[in-house]
Symmetry: C3
Subunit: 349 residues, 3 copies
């Protein structure tokens, strides 16, 4: 397609789109600026990448309104307020991945007689759908996914291969779940007995995953002991994350890979949880709180909008100060030694 056609499409979804240069340029591919070649459309969203502006071989670039550029050497530009979002729209529109298995129920899938699968849904090879399950409109289950008795999956969901949804789980609409993820395994609850053994606490609650949630690969979201583990609308969870029983994750909160929430952690809305962060159980976190990677969260943080880091986690400025001072300990020990010597010499006088 031509650059003019791309600019025209962006005008339908964004306001204030400006095309600078030759709109008739033919675009063959979308590429990162470091690797873009003749015929490619690329973008600059981060000032760190402005250095590539002159050297890139890309035929066209999406750039921020504020970046002073001029069409030259046959290179053209699309200027927008948010170059990254514009680029995402282009990617979405012009580089769709092949949808897999939008072709109804595969003959090798095993579906219980009492299950209800919408005629527009697709169930891949070797899937298993238990009794009384409900699979909504246009939802796609990739091969080898297992949905146990009584689970419900809404409309427009994409469930990748080898996902397991335990019995009774409740999944909303437009939820994406990547391969190997397990929703609804038993919470980790055992009552210690006088003889040193543990008695299992039955885990009879469920997991509720609201609309527009995306879960990465090999994630674990445990069912509640009683009641519900809740993942609110718009939450995004990366690979290998652990969410314990009875947790509550507020809407639009983002959790990076390998983070872990112990049981009954309650996160607010629009929080950002870094990779490998760990939460002690039964904590509460306010809205828009950010934890840097590997933070260890040992108490509730009820102040909205805070940024914390470290283990135990401290407000960022305090943590950075503490790290800096720890780095200067060598000199502090030296200074104290000098003081001691000088004081001793003073006293001797």
């Amino acid at each position: 397609m031509t650059l003019a056609e791309i600019a025209a499409y962006l005008q339908t979804v964004l306001s204030d789109v400006e095309l600078l240069g030759d709109g008739s340029i033919d675009i063959h591919r979308v590429a990162r600026i470091e690797t873009a070649a003749q015929g490619d459309l690329s973008f600059i969203a981060n000032s760190k990448y402005e250095k590539f502006l002159t050297e890139t071989a890309a035929s066209a670039l999406i750039v921020p309104k504020t970046l002073p550029v001029e069409p030259l050497n046959g290179k053209a530009f699309i200027k927008v307020a948010d170059a990254y979002t514009a680029f995402v729209f282009v990617l979405e529109k012009f580089m769709p991945r092949v949808p897999v298995h939008r072709d109804g129920v595969h003959p090798t899938a095993v579906i219980a007689p009492s299950a209800t699968v919408h005629p527009s849904a697709s169930i891949g090879a070797h899937c298993f759908i238990g009794e009384r399950c409900i699979i909504g409109e246009q939802s796609v289950l990739h091969p080898n996914t297992v949905v146990l008795d009584g689970a419900r999956i809404g409309n427009g969901c994409v469930i990748y291969p080898n996902v397991v949804i335990y019995d009774g789980m409740n999944i909303g609409n437009r939820v994406v779940i990547h391969a190997g993820t397990v929703v609804g395994a038993d919470g980790f609850g055992f009552a210690p007995q006088p003889d040193g053994t543990y008695k299992k606490i039955p885990q009879v609650g469920i997991v509720v995953i609201e609309d527009d949630v995306e879960l990465g690969a090999n994630v674990c979201i445990d069912r509640a002991t009683l009641g519900e583990t809740i993942i609110k609308r718009g939450v995004k969870i990366d690979n290998l994350v652990q969410v314990g029983h009875n947790c509550f994750v507020g809407s639009n909160t983002v959790i990076a890979a390998q983070a872990g929430l112990s049981g009954s952690t309650k996160l607010g809305e629009n929080c950002m949880i870094g990779g490998q962060v760990g939460f002690v159980g039964h904590l509460e976190v306010a809205n828009r709180v950010t934890f840097g990677g590997q933070s260890g969260v040992t108490k509730s943080h009820l102040k909205e909008g805070e940024f914390l880091r470290g283990s135990p986690a401290l407000p960022l400025r305090k943590q950075l100060r503490q790290e800096a001072l720890t780095g200067k300990l060598e000199s502090l020990f030296e200074r104290v030694k000098v003081l001691e010597a000088e004081l001793a010499s003073l006293k001797r006088q």
Copy 2:
């Protein structure tokens, strides 16, 4: 059922159960005290929840013997020594989850001719059971689970979907394994070669999982290089835990989510390993040792009953003291600065 029936059941499993109030109350559900409604039975096991005693709408509560309560407003009580364990018994008895697929061998399961599956065992859809495997009495394998050649699974086990048991593994009785867990992948062993490449060390040992062990979802227990990786009786392991080759986990030890044991770690009995704890390899830990979340264990801890935390892990009191002092570094630097100024001024005099 009625509250009197529940109390009567508890008397069959616990000593010293006392019913206070109207035993004819009809109980419809078991619920957490924060969310309990009319007709619900709930419990208070932790003094933190005593505040709900007056406000809960629950019709009846299980409470500790020591809690002074009086039946009023039609609310009744069951008093016991350990309210939590009593509650677990009630949950277990009156709120069983629907057992899945207790119906023999599904026709889509593939079972090697030389495998022995007990007639009372259930093998779910699309399971694969390799040559010479043995599956014991009453064991249930959920759909899409794979058991490779020569593996043995005892009696009364529950294996959830998409579990993989490698060849030759040995699983005891009443073992529960949640979805996506892998028992017996190769240990991580590679011999460095002069040209910078690595030569794989064949991993020909096995994993032995004794009776009454429970493994969470997406756990990895690696096979031994030679000999056995051993998980002793009654061990409970949470989701996403890594147990390296040739580890030994003593009986009734509990390992929280995302913890990792490097190869040849040896843990005692009744240890408690917090979430995201990491062990350097070839360490030994005594019985009843506890490591707080995110601890980094870099040496053996042979003193029974210790509580450690931090990275590197220190005895709790020492670690807390160190954290507190680190938090006061700002003031210490300030004090040293003052001392230096005062000393300089003294010397000038």
Copy 3:
């Protein structure tokens, strides 16, 4: 077989192999020195294990050239430069694990008509191979593995059960992938929108895994947003590791369990990444850099051959010094208090 036969085999693969003692000894098994019995061949590669030299019941031992040993009590020795590598050769040659399912395409496997499976490849029960996939010579896919449209797997690969390879992935030759691993799930990319929600950034790139790579169980390697996530030749990755989108892992780099690479991390060749290490995104690491377990890597490390540890990671010597000084804080606070008292008393005079 006899010890002389084993020695003869080692002479075909290693230089300078010396047999001391009775070559006619019959060897039944290879075992670790702690557990070796009569008829076993064992080895000593680490001086820590030399104490077993006299007490072991093993009939023969592989030992380093430099260890002074004498055949006695019917015990014999094979002396080599690198006892560990020699032992690995013996293990490999004489204790092969039973290969599983080298028997063509299982009738329950679902293979798209446009896929190309080499006649010598084996496809296990309930596997799914999508459109236009290519599976090379002698490659073995264990049961329940899913390969989505357009993915390519080279020659001599072993893919264990329940692995998922997403559409378009490119896997080299002799690659080993353990159970439950996911190659090619979407990178974690979402553009924040003014209303607090996130817009998904399409992930249209792929993963390239070069020859001789081994991936552990339940690993996640995300596809690139655009372009490629690259795992170079000879890389070894342990269980539960996360590799984010657009990462580059240099050849022969080793990554231990539960480590996590955020998006666009670039690791050099022959690096060693400890367990549970975390990398902030967009960092670069030079060749032969080692990070100790649980390191938190917050900036690029471009000096070859460095050894770092801690969170944030510091050069080892510096980190150890800092840990030691932190451990002495108690005494430092005490010394400052003494100084203050003495100075006050001096001033009073």
